[in-house]
């Protein structure tokens, strides 16, 4: 019988099990068999369910909350939460205005779905019955629903005492006056829709109190457990040690699960108040309308270039709809303020200006979604470069090749002082152009399609700053600044390895890839490496999984801890072999010298079970090491990819079909190329969602209109093409193994590549799509408008 757990027989496992091996994922054994354990799978004795009364209005004063007599003691409001503090996520950037997000609304509600009361009952259905019986007296206020109008004087105010609706305004300028006389000057407005992150698993919380440990235990689908605990402790006024946060299997995070939720604070308070465990499981309507919003950007952008397509400068005013509150820990300004520093991307330019506005509106707080500001920035800049190409009479690919940072310039500090560690961006672009075969597409375009559709090709390229650390985040001054990353490595008495890390894995495959790192250092079979994640009581402190940092930071920490562990084992091994320590090496899981070898298993047995055989000067720390790691430079690794798409657009129906898709990606040294492929495919699916499907519209009263997945469209298997992937591997000079973070990249470039392809297809019709998602209705509207314009001109 085939051994189910034999991962070494995986296809492509030819490179062994270490760094670079295409190993099947260890965790898939339980996940694919439906044996994962997610928050909603947790059952505790006496568990009761919670449903929330949420605000039906975007902006209103609460003048009364009425609970039927029969439900007294089952319903809790802000008045009950004595001593619980609001969520505050402050940035130290000058001028940042502070918002306080009450965990249950008091006085005013500022978004649809804001929590007003919590209702507890033996089942969720009964809790919803109670919630439905609670009535609210609300005095409706004008809703701030349009971020551009929100900036105008006289707009209604989300936070009255601010005097305006701007969380933060930033301004960055380098010599923009030198660009103004450029022969090519293109100005456009570009926008990206508000989206919802939509992981398969929504948020969920189970809270219980352990009197023996005097400890609140919170099970929560969280990707940054330690940071969430800090925020929770602050809101509850508890010592951090009195809170244990366990994040079990997590079904996708994408940023949504890095945020401290008011629901987490509420449930924590409630279990201590009620004396029994309580649970809240986010449903899809809550997810869509009351949480998880992201991506809503607006750009007014001018690109200056010489007539040969070389960039002279970019001038941009970017506005981000930050929603009602600053979310913990990333704050309300991460997205917009980051736009200013990352907009130039991997391009050379002598002049640049960018003003940004983080605007408060009566919508959900905007949260950092895979790619964070980069997806919008890439969309804006890459669409503009295609217009420059059209003005210059050049192929879009050629314009990029003329402006990309060149490999001989590496490492390179760009106009916003981003430090590009390594890479060959023009090569990635050339490969993408060759693989998608632009010439063949041009030939096909000349022939026209029998079915009347229009063919187009589009490219885009981006850089992804990943695992950026202390020096970058200290400047933001938000509640979370990453420092050294720790890992604990422990050999068990039978020679297995336990690794404890503070990052979390929610689809990234880290139970496999971190084991591969350990295998690389110690030679232990990955099947004998256990990765312990997602529990503040079991793992070293970490800011967690965000910013494509886990393999760089936790991978580096695991390597460092394993190296130290290996060295201690080597010294014990030398004694067992009766060798001078200098004469033995650790290789393939054993310590070897001329006299023979001794396995790590035997060494572990000796340390734990036969200490009498140990050398007198043995390291008393034994076979358990906690060690920390930081790359040589903490300004981040720069991975990148060139994407290219061929689409067919039906101008009458507005339908877009992706005919071909190519990704040429450079993530430095890949620990597991198959896992990286998976990351790219997943990111691509989300990028296609941004490009063509996903949108959370609001009406003028601030009501979210896509309240179910029938209205909020996500791409499915039939909408995601079988992309062709090509890897380049330029090692980072600063990190362990030369790895770079790549987790988010797949989601960054597709909207730009697809929009450029659609615009390439429709350019002969005079159509230009500058807004995501590119829906059938928007295409047809633009086609008709272009036809009308042509008729008027004629």
């Amino acid at each position: 019988m085939r051994n189910e757990r034999d991962f070494s027989s995986a296809p492509g496992a030819g490179a062994g099990q270490g760094v670079g091996a295409r190993l099947s994922r260890k965790e898939d054994d339980r996940l694919m068999r439906g044996r994962g354990q997610f928050v909603a799978d947790i059952r505790l004795a006496g568990l009761q369910d919670v449903a929330f009364v949420r605000s039906p209005l975007a902006h209103a004063r609460i003048s009364g909350i009425h609970v039927p007599e029969r439900y007294r003691g089952k319903v809790f409001t802000a008045a009950d939460l004595i001593g619980v503090k609001p969520i505050r996520a402050v940035s130290a950037l000058p001028g940042f205005k502070i918002s306080e997000q009450p965990v249950l609304a008091s006085g005013k509600v500022r978004q649809v779905g804001e929590l007003v009361a919590m209702c507890v009952a033996p089942t969720r259905a009964e809790a919803e019955d109670i919630a439905a019986s609670v009535t609210l007296d609300l005095e409706e206020l004008p809703a701030v629903y349009d971020m551009l109008k929100a900036r105008e004087p006289g707009a209604a105010l989300v936070h009255e005492h601010w005097g305006d609706n701007v969380f933060l305004e930033t301004n960055y300028e380098v010599d923009i006056s030198t660009a103004l006389d450029a022969p090519i000057k293109v100005t456009r407005e570009i926008s990206t829709a508000r989206q919802c992150m939509s992981p398969l698993e929504g948020r969920g919380v189970v809270a219980t109190f352990d009197h023996r440990l005097d400890q609140l235990t919170l099970y929560s689908a969280a990707q940054m457990p330690h940071v969430t605990r800090s925020g929770l402790a602050k809101c509850l006024g508890m010592e951090e040690g009195r809170i244990r946060l366990i994040s079990p299997d997590v079904g996708g995070g994408f940023g949504h699960k890095g945020i401290l939720l008011p629901e987490e604070v509420c449930l924590s308070w409630l279990t201590m108040r009620c004396g029994h465990p309580v649970r809240w499981t986010e449903d899809r309507r809550e997810h869509l309308t009351a949480s998880s919003n992201c991506r809503e950007h607006h750009y007014k952008i001018t690109v200056y270039a010489n007539s040969d397509g070389r960039l002279r400068g970019i001038d941009c005013e970017a506005t981000v709809d930050s929603g009602a509150y600053s979310s913990y820990p990333f704050s309300a300004c991460l997205e917009a303020a980051q736009v200013a520093s990352i907009l130039p991307g991997p391009y050379l330019m002598p002049a640049y200006r960018c003003r940004t506005f983080s605007v408060a509106t009566n919508k959900c707080p905007i949260l950092p979604y895979r790619g964070v500001a980069r997806t919008g920035v890439c969309f804006a800049l890459e669409l503009m470069l295609d217009l420059v190409a059209a003005e210059a009479g050049l192929e879009p690919g050629e314009v990029r090749l003329r402006n990309l940072i060149r490999p001989e310039q590496m490492p390179f500090d760009n106009i916003t002082k981003k430090h590009f560690d390594s890479g060959d961006y023009p090569e990635a672009m050339r490969r993408a152009l060759a693989t998608i075969d632009v010439d063949a597409v041009r030939a096909r375009q000349r022939k026209r399609e029998a079915d009347g559709r229009r063919i187009g090709v589009g490219v885009s390229i981006y850089c992804e700053q990943a695992a950026h650390g202390t020096s970058v985040y200290a400047g933001w001054g938000i509640p979370m600044v990453p420092g050294h990353e720790q890992a604990s490595a422990r050999l068990t008495p039978d020679g297995g390895l336990e690794l404890r890390v503070g990052v979390h894995s929610h689809g990234q495959g880290m139970e496999t890839t971190l084991a591969q790192v350990a295998h690389e250092m110690l030679g232990i079979d990955v099947a004998n490496v256990r990765i312990i994640l997602g529990d503040t009581a079991m793992t070293p402190y970490s800011t967690g999984t965000w910013g494509s940092r886990s393999m760089v930071m936790a991978g580096g920490a695991v390597a460092t801890a394993c190296r130290e562990l290996g060295e201690r084992a080597r010294r014990i091994g030398a004694k067992l072999l009766q060798h001078d320590p200098a004469a033995v090496v650790l290789q393939s899981g054993e310590v070897r010298g001329v006299n023979g070898s001794v396995t790590l298993k035997e060494i572990a047995y000796t340390w734990y079970r036969r200490p009498q055989d140990l050398p007198a000067d043995v390291d008393p720390g034994g076979l358990e090491v906690t060690s920390g790691y930081k790359p040589q430079r903490d300004s981040g690794t720069f991975s990148y990819a060139a994407h290219a798409a061929v689409v067919a657009v039906d101008p009458d129906l507005g339908e877009v079909e992706i005919l071909d898709y190519v990704v040429v990606e450079d993530g430095g040294v890949l620990v597991n190329p198959m896992v990286v492929d998976g990351q790219i495919y997943g990111g691509l699916a989300q990028g296609i969602g941004t490009a063509l499907y996903e949108e959370m519209p609001f009406d003028a009263s601030g009501q979210p209109l896509a309240t179910t997945l029938a209205d909020y469209l996500l791409p499915g298997p039939t909408e995601v093409p079988a992309a062709r992937l090509d890897h380049m591997e330029t090692p980072s000079p600063y990190t362990q193994f030369g790895v770079k973070g790549i987790g988010e990249g797949g989601a960054i470039a597709p909207p730009a590549a697809i929009a450029n392809a659609v615009n390439d297809a429709l350019r002969p019709l005079g159509v230009e799509m500058m807004q995501s998602p590119i829906t059938p209705h928007r295409i047809v509207e633009a086609v008709l408008a272009a036809r009308d314009a042509e008729r008027t001109a004629a």
Binding site: T123, R124, A125, E128, D129, A132, D283, R284, R285, D652, L653, G654, E655, Y693, T708, A710, L713, P715, G716, T718, E719, T775, P776, H777, V780, E781, L784
Partner: protein, 278 residues
């Protein structure tokens, strides 16, 4: 997202079901496949006192050819038709419609009677049956009545069904050998409801055409004598004679104000006409 409390009955025969519905006096909902009612219950958009489950009614799962027509019980699933488990009088047209409804999981459970009763103007059968010229038999304790498909729906999620009344059977006339069929819909993605749908049954030798523009906000536009869409007469050259201006005017008259929406509907219909002529 859990339903409000409701009572549940699963009667064994149609008279028992009709009695339960009559007793409930409008405070009940019928469930068959539950593909629309399930989510609506969970979202508390409907809060019936009683849910009457008709999946135990063998008489509603019958499908048989009677003379020149096919009689389908209301509990026939989309998959029954897709997989050819029911007789066919439409020369494959029904099977083609069924195979493209939503997703297979929905087709496995969703029923034709349920889909019609739900009266979603974007649903496939609402338009397809109208193009076929199908009729529905509705039954209550008071008796039965038969109506044309296009007279059944009054608006979005609104039909002529009275309290206590149920869709019992659908009667689909046989498609003549000379009749051409075209059916095209435009969906944002595979399996989603259409945002434009065109269905045409054209018989040039009989000079007749039934044309439907569906998936609009209200009742599908059914043109049972569609000569006006083809320059006043229907003949073998109908493809060339299709007049987009007439279709556009019909849509405008139906209250579709947005020109892009109208353009998409007209384009879809033109393709259905082309498909029929192919």
């Amino acid at each position: 997202m859990k339903p409000a409390p409701f009572g549940y009955e699963r009667p064994r025969d149609l008279p028992a079901a009709l009695s339960l519905l009559a007793e409930a006096n409008g405070a009940s909902k019928i469930i068959a496949g539950g593909q629309s009612l399930g989510p609506m219950l969970n979202l508390r958009l409907v809060q019936p006192e009683l849910v009457v489950d008709i999946t135990g009614l063998a008489e509603l799962k019958q499908a048989e050819r009677r003379g020149d027509e096919l009689v389908l019980g209301a509990c026939i699933t989309h998959a029954d038709i897709e997989d050819g488990r029911t007789p066919d009088v439409t020369r494959g047209a029904m099977r083609g419609v069924a195979a493209n409804i939503a997703y297979r999981a929905v087709r496995n459970r969703g029923t034709i009677g349920g889909s019609l009763s739900h009266a979603d103007p974007a649903a496939d059968w609402v338009s397809a049956f109208a193009a076929f010229g199908a009729r529905l038999t509705l039954r209550s304790l008071a008796g039965a009545r038969t109506v044309a498909m296009e007279d059944f729906i009054l608006g979005a999620l609104e039909s002529i069904l009275r309290p206590g009344e149920i869709v019992e059977t659908i009667h689909v006339p046989a498609r003549p050998a000379s009749a051409h069929w075209g059916y095209v819909k435009s969906c944002r993605k595979t399996g989603e409801f259409a945002h434009a749908l065109g269905a045409v049954m054209i018989d040039p030798s009989a000079a007749t055409a039934r044309v439907v523009m569906g998936a609009i906000d209200t009742t599908p536009i059914v043109i049972s004598d569609a000569a006006e869409l083809f320059g006043g007469r229907i003949a073998g050259d109908y493809k060339e004679r299709f007049d987009v201006r007439v279709a556009d005017a019909l849509l405008a008259k139906a209250g579709i104000g947005n020109p892009a929406d109208r353009h998409i509907h007209v384009s879809v219909l033109r393709r259905a006409v082309r498909e029929a002529a192919a």
